[in-house]
């Protein structure tokens, strides 16, 4: 499978990327690790006229603790997130989730910014970021914006990012020592989650239980009112409308959400 022809460009600074985006608008796509975009282009579901490779942008590859948060450059790869000592200490849920995406080859290429901007409801990192109450920082022609994760995932593959805007940084509140859990159910080792759950403290986010990653509000509320973890987990599928698919009915997905939430809450408490 070969993508439809396009013009390949490289940006070596954020400003250069913004100039190319302003120039080409909707016809341009940003290329980070390429592990969401290139498969779509090979299937010809995406046919950008211009592909802007961000690989030379070393300024967006970093993890550092600052002002009570871990700041992650958008081009930091999954492999580097998984092994980063600062992230493992202060945001272990995010470090763990990055280490179970796809397989080692995928983790050598995929980036956190690419995953979040792609906004796949079946993605692991979007839910981890949502449960963590992270803030996403973008740059556009009018300057910087800070978007809370709760406002970032607005629908399947849909975010508030404008065509001329670039995700630059993810700020995850530092939660060293707070319990966390991550569970996902897949058909094969490297598959996307049929359902997954990310927990940090009493925050619970669900993978693939709707058009975007979702907070399990009923579960969170029950926990805050002193319900047991088992009781709270029973409410995990409330107000969700997961997809009906040949390998997983909506009812089965709801069952998985309850079971996996119970497990993730148990590991968070352990």
């Amino acid at each position: 499978m070969i993508p439809v022809g396009f013009s390949y460009r490289r940006a070596s600074t954020v400003d250069e990327a913004l100039v190319l985006l302003t120039e080409h608008g909707d016809d341009a796509k940003l290329l980070a690790g390429g592990h969401s975009l290139l498969p779509l282009m090979k299937l010809r579901l995406a046919t950008p006229e211009v592909v802007v490779d961000l690989a030379p942008l070393d300024e967006l590859r970093y993890v550092r603790a600052e002002d009570g948060a871990v700041r992650i450059g958008a081009l930091t790869r999954y492999r580097d997130l998984h092994t980063d000592p600062v992230l493992r200490e202060h945001a272990p849920l995010v470090a763990h989730a990055a280490g179970v995406i796809g397989d080692p080859q995928v983790r050598h290429r995929g980036t956190i910014g690419g995953s979040l901007a792609h906004a796949d409801p079946a993605g692991d990192l979007p839910a981890a970021i949502l449960a963590s109450d992270a803030v996403l920082v973008t740059r556009g022609p009018d300057g910087e914006r800070e978007i809370p994760a709760a406002e970032f995932f607005v629908g399947p593959f849909t975010t508030p990012l404008e065509p001329d805007e670039l995700l630059t940084e993810i700020r995850v509140p530092a939660r060293a020592g707070i319990g966390w859990g991550f569970e996902k159910f897949t058909r094969r080792a490297i598959d996307w989650a049929i359902v997954g759950v990310a927990v940090v403290g009493d925050s619970v986010a669900l993978i693939n239980m709707g058009g975007s990653p979702l907070r399990a509000h009923a579960t969170e509320e029950a926990l805050s009112q002193g319900a047991s973890r088992a009781e709270a987990a029973e409410l995990a599928a409330q107000d969700t409308s997961p997809a009906e698919e040949p390998h997983a009915s909506a009812e089965y997905r709801k069952h998985l959400a309850r079971v996996l939430t119970a497990r993730a809450l148990a590991s968070a408490a352990a």
Partner: protein, 155 residues
């Protein structure tokens, strides 16, 4: 576009279409056909090569993205007619049946041993999760990686 990269220790400059995938560049432009195309969907790992020493699936990397980087294919592993230790171990432990997945398995194993020189059998299995063997010959593949890392094969 004209691109230059180091492939198996040699600098190569070629003219390619912008949309050329790394695997097609290696196989069709350079004639390095050890790298196989299996699923073509980032699933099976048959096309695994090393990019700056790390395993990647070359069906999901543009040739242009490898510009200025170092690519190693199975052809570039050994030297002076000698097999690389991982290749020898696959041979000794009979870590292959039909052989189609073998180049990818070996490249993924070389990358694994660089990151984790003494893995246990479970870690080997997990590290090879991105490589499918249609013959289901995983047991001996894991044994080969254990042998290549200088550890007991038993398990």
């Amino acid at each position: 576009m004209k691109i230059t990269m180091e492939v198996n220790g040699e600098s190569r400059t070629e003219d390619v279409e912008d949309r050329t995938l790394l695997v097609h560049f290696l196989r069709d432009t350079l004639g390095l056909t050890a790298t196989n195309i299996g699923c073509d969907t980032t699933s099976c790992g048959a096309c695994t090569v090393l990019l700056d020493g790390e395993s990647v699936k070359s069906c999901t990397v543009l040739a242009a993205q490898a510009e200025g980087h170092r690519v190693t294919t199975l052809e570039g592993l050994g030297g002076n007619g000698e097999l690389h230790p991982v290749q020898s171990a696959f041979r000794e432990e009979h870590g292959l049946q039909c052989g189609f997945c073998t180049p990818g398995m070996i490249m993924a194993s070389v990358s694994l041993l660089k990151e984790n020189p003494k893995p246990n059998r479970q870690e080997v299995r997990e590290a090879l999760e991105g490589n499918l063997c249609r013959c289901t010959g995983y047991h001996n593949i894991v044994s080969a990686v254990m042998a290549a890392s200088g550890q007991e094969v038993a398990g």
